[in-house]
């Protein structure tokens, strides 16, 4: 498996585009994106668990339910959530507009939105932009598309890999946006994954769910699960591999590549959390099983107090034990060890239930790096798990104290 360029356009059959249509008022930045496959695709998706679902989420859930789709249209600047019938109609019109322009069935177009909740979306702007959006689709359109889905993101998020599946080179590409209102289940707002792998909708759904559990569902920025979270995968089957119809070695190879891509994106999203200065990775080993390990890791990187301590480069490990303690998971503090690790070295702070004296200056140095790993060992089994988050900063409060204006 190796990295390749092209993001969502890397796999055979896919093109993309991004334009400014006018949803983001007074700015000329891109705000409308499209990803299209030249052939109908096997499709699967994971949506927010929030009971308040944005209107495009409701529509996309319907459209993807038959396991087929061919295009995804995404906008930034307005979440189209809590907007009632008028908002749902806007999502329908968006799908219909793209379908008509591309000459594909309306039900094969999925719609995603991100931005402010509770304001009616400018559907006229979207409809007037759709012709140019579709005409401009191209093999390097990933560069405009990945920009058009950004809100408070400071960097675009994209990656692509090529792996061998059933003796053929298979490609997976992806782009995502996500910065605030991000919490486990799902740790993203919007993400599109494309692949040319030949795989049935059922196996695609299975692989997506397996992968999300260990990647996107292990990211937290602020503990708020958004109304719009959507992760979509389209598989064009143009790679020419033998279609994956069951959990065989080909499935495993595909899943491995998918995990690699999603892990990379999970880290990108956490590291670009609103206001973040540090990417925090928490690995738990020696747990009685993987599920417990993941749950503990997630709770640690979700704690406001842990996050604020890392902002202050303060090796305040007591807060880590505290967060583990209210996770609901059973573990023995007396068997627990904690250390910190980064490009500047390792430092152990708690060993088998006993606080260690440690060099505060060295600790500060370790915690000053942009990426810091919190290593926790429970000495209670072979289970392990990882979660990703970021520090809590002044900038996070600033961004979210005045988001609408």
């Amino acid at each position: 498996m190796h990295h390749i360029d092209g993001g969502v356009c890397a796999p055979a059959g896919f093109t993309a585009n991004g334009i400014h249509c006018g949803i983001k008022k007074g700015r000329t930045t891109e705000d409308l994106a499209l990803v299209e496959s030249e052939v109908p695709c096997a499709a699967a998706a994971v949506f927010t668990t929030n009971r308040v679902k944005a209107e495009p989420v409701k529509l996309s859930m319907k459209h993807v339910s038959n396991g087929t789709a061919q295009a995804v249209v995404l906008n930034a600047g307005n979440a189209n959530a809590c907007t009632g019938k008028q908002g749902y109609e806007a999502a329908v019109k968006t799908a219909r507009g793209v379908a008509n322009e591309l000459g594909i069935p309306e039900t094969d177009v999925l719609v995603c939105s991100t931005g402010v909740i509770g304001q009616q979306i400018n559907i006229d702007a979207i409809l007037s932009g759709i012709p140019a959006l579709c005409t401009g689709l191209s093999k390097n359109g990933n560069e405009l598309a990945r920009k058009a889905i950004m809100t408070t993101d400071t960097n675009y998020k994209e990656t692509a890999v090529e792996a061998e599946v059933g003796g053929k080179p298979v490609r997976i590409g992806t782009m995502a946006k996500g910065s605030g209102m991000i919490h486990i289940n799902m740790g993203t707002m919007l993400s599109v994954i494309t692949t040319d792998c030949a795989i049935t909708p059922k196996m695609l759904k299975s692989a997506l769910r397996e992968s999300v559990e260990k990647t996107y569902n292990c990211v937290s920025v602020d503990g708020d699960t958004s109304t719009n979270d959507t992760l979509i995968i389209l598989a064009s089957a143009l790679a020419g591999n033998k279609t994956i119809t069951r959990k065989n070695t080909d499935y495993a190879a595909f899943l491995e590549a998918l995990n690699a891509v999603n892990t990379e994106m999970a880290r990108k999203i956490a590291g670009d959390g609103e206001g973040a200065e540090h990417l925090l990775e928490c690995t738990v080993t020696g747990a009685k099983n993987d599920k417990t390990a993941r749950a503990l890791a997630k709770q640690v990187i979700s704690s406001s107090l842990v996050k604020a301590a890392f902002f202050g480069k303060d090796a305040n490990w007591g807060r880590i034990l505290c967060a583990m303690g209210y996770s609901g998971e059973v573990f023995d503090p007396a068997g627990t060890s904690v250390s910190f690790s980064s490009g500047a070295g390792d430092i152990a702070v708690f060993e088998k239930g006993v606080p260690l004296s440690f060099d505060e200056d060295k600790a500060k140095l370790v915690l000053t790096e942009g990426e810091v790993t919190i290593k926790i060992d429970l000495a209670d089994g072979t289970g392990c798990g990882t979660a990703w988050g970021c520090d809590l900063t002044y900038e996070y409060v600033k961004i979210n104290g005045d988001y609408r204006t």
Copy 2:
């Protein structure tokens, strides 16, 4: 029922004191407090649900289990948590020191600590301070005691009321500390309630639990449930009322007074949350039952994004709907209405599922007040509930970015 002075010393039989013994290094502020009854008391307590329990919590759980206690010793500056056997021994020595000095059984002394996690407590300082602590007990010692339990609190938290129970005037007094690491179950770190009501330990426990559910368990500052949360009530029976042995009208009168006292303290704790500029009260009405109403209210005041919006005086009500949506409770967004209310007026922003146009300048004015109420109506029944929290500010991040040093 009316308010009276004296805090924990207001009920008959109670004295208190607070001294500086040296746990808080380099400062002369009080760090050790004691509350004593002249007679053995019926006692009940609620402790943290965190699996990682501080050493004094473990000891106090044991000592209170027989329903009797006579004194509570509390320190600030060190949580004595994650400190293993040495820490537990320190808690035992503290209880023993106080018991010997007061001439009461060691098992009738409860111990509470608050402060940094993971550092051994200075037990020598405590032991050398105990004689002066006990000698200085007085009827106006509540003033020193309430100060001695403060950490990042900017104000002491105390109240007392007198109510009629069974034809006799009965008093309830309390003091608490709580500012950060505060979340529902329990929304405090340390709280002591005293009363001269005659009531059995069983009924006392029952009243405490009923009251906590609607008061302390509805407070969140930062979503972190601490290792040390302890709420203790001592009843001296010196008021001369007929002992409450079952849930009769006397029990109801006592519970009403207890709720009044605990509600006041819950609001004080939320309003003095670390870095807080606004006390946020969220009331949910029209729910299918009280439990659902409380759960929704708690989720709203726990959301980082909601909290940051109030810091920015931004009427970003979409985040409120979003938080309700991931609470796990069932409700219909289409029947939901939201408005904000403060000393500066009321403003409706969402009515039965439809966003309202509203005057942004007026909204800013309403949200500029120190106390703001978020009113949510579900039009789905008669259930109601209230929760208290505060905004998320730069100051919170600052305080917690460098707490240890």
